[in-house]
Amino acid sequence: MTVVVVGAGPAGMAAARAAARAGVRVVLVDAAARPGGQYHRQNSLSAEGEFGLPDGVEHWPDSSVWAVEPIDGGHRVHVRTGRADGPGRRGRCVDTPALVLATGAYDRALPFPGWTLPGVYTAGAAQALAKGQGVAVGERVLVAGTGPFLLPVAESLLDAGAGVLGVLEAGRPFSRWLRDPRGTLTGRGKLAELARYARVLAANGVPYRTRTTVIAAHGADRVEEVTTARLDPDWNVLAGTEQRVRADAVCAGFGFSPQLELAVAARCKLRDGFVLVDAAQATSVPGVFAAGEITGIGGAQLSAAEGEVAGTAAAMRLGVRPPMPHRALRAVRHGRRFAAALARAHPLRPGWRGRLTDDTLVCRCEEVDHRELREAVGRREASGARSLKLVSRAGLGPCQGRICGPNIADLVAGIDPTAFARRPVAVPVRLAELSEAPAPQEETE
């Protein structure tokens, strides 16, 4: 019997290691060619891989889990292995009594006029391109959004050779960090880390501005100019503070959304938009564990600690009795307090909605603009996400509402943001591949 871990980021790698240490066989499945996930993204152009995994872990690279299906005594995990979105991928299934989901998170992207122009990226995209491909996304780049993640993004951009015009933080976080009642945010080396970023920005002459953001991007076929503005505490634009700046790229990040579709497909209960877990990282579904940022946004260290707990608990389901991971359990408790304080220090404020013009696209895939969305809200009969999707087409495109879902939930009363995570197929599968599934020629391991 095998523990199956989906996702080889900090959480999944820690889960796989812990389960292997406990003496059970592990299959670690990840869509990328190399383990690491977002935080430990490896430069795929370098010949050497950085992360060794213990002998008990069988790593399946280039492997996307497209469905999870309950079976007697556990779950069947459907995998396709091969170059991304190619037609010739190999289909495999693996059955497991103990499934660990560690699928991570992706950037929350807020719409603004011009956000669909080439040259507007999520902050994570800039980070992934710099770290993984050695690509600097521009020569005159503005980093905008909210949260401490903007700082490592700016640093990676500088490392990759980009010119960074500024880091624009929409909130005023550091006064909040310092006011944080229990000092959770300033403890444990966090201030030192912030001071290091401050030095890097200063040494490169990169200004850091709070209560400021990008409110529009302009250009014919790509970003040529950007409008920035100062914000009030609710993120409404302070009239008269708009400035037009020449720029060739904007990297915007407003926090992260969890990658929920496999957890939703497995029917795991959610709370506040994340997978609900107990102290052993067990979800509401027996035999399914969750770790890392699908359970809450708290950074790589917390993800790894949760992974270690989840991997240990998953191994125990296979009948072994490893020692309790006391240190990891403690790290999870501390990490969760830090994550909660972080979320309080970086709230999204409603003023962003005021920047949408009638023709600002809300759904990038189906090209549904703000006016069409409002009209659909007026016309639809039922109030749920499903009917809104059908009437407006928002969320029906290839990203299946991953990008627009959380924003539509903020724009339209009564829409549950996680309703968009109900996706029967978690990652794209070619029509030819679907027609052969669940195919007898699929190998079950």
Binding site: P87, T122, G124, P428
Partner: protein, 85 residues
């Protein structure tokens, strides 16, 4: 490693993605949208947004940010809705 980009022979490095190659050559868009015919390239960079779709070896709707190049790959701009496969 050599690949074709819209008919032109281009050098690529092992481990490079389609998006990594195109962006490093200064190309920021390689698809037009179905409805508005607007240009698109990378947005999320990690495979979730599907903005970066491109045609590789005659197959449409391949995510350029996820697809690692192989010697001899033929990459071509994707226009509007192309036939699925």
């Amino acid at each position: 490693m050599n690949v074709l980009v819209d008919g032109a022979r281009v050098q690529a490095r092992p481990g490079q993605t389609v998006a990594g190659l195109l962006l490093s050559r200064g190309q920021v868009s390689w698809r037009s949208t179905r409805r508005g015919g607007r240009p698109r390239g990378v947005f999320c960079g990690i495979g979730v947004c599907f903005d970066c779709l491109v045609v590789v070896n005659g197959i449409a709707d391949v995510r350029a940010c996820q697809r690692v190049l192989e010697d001899g790959d033929e990459v071509r701009t994707q226009r509007g809705a192309e036939l699925p496969s």
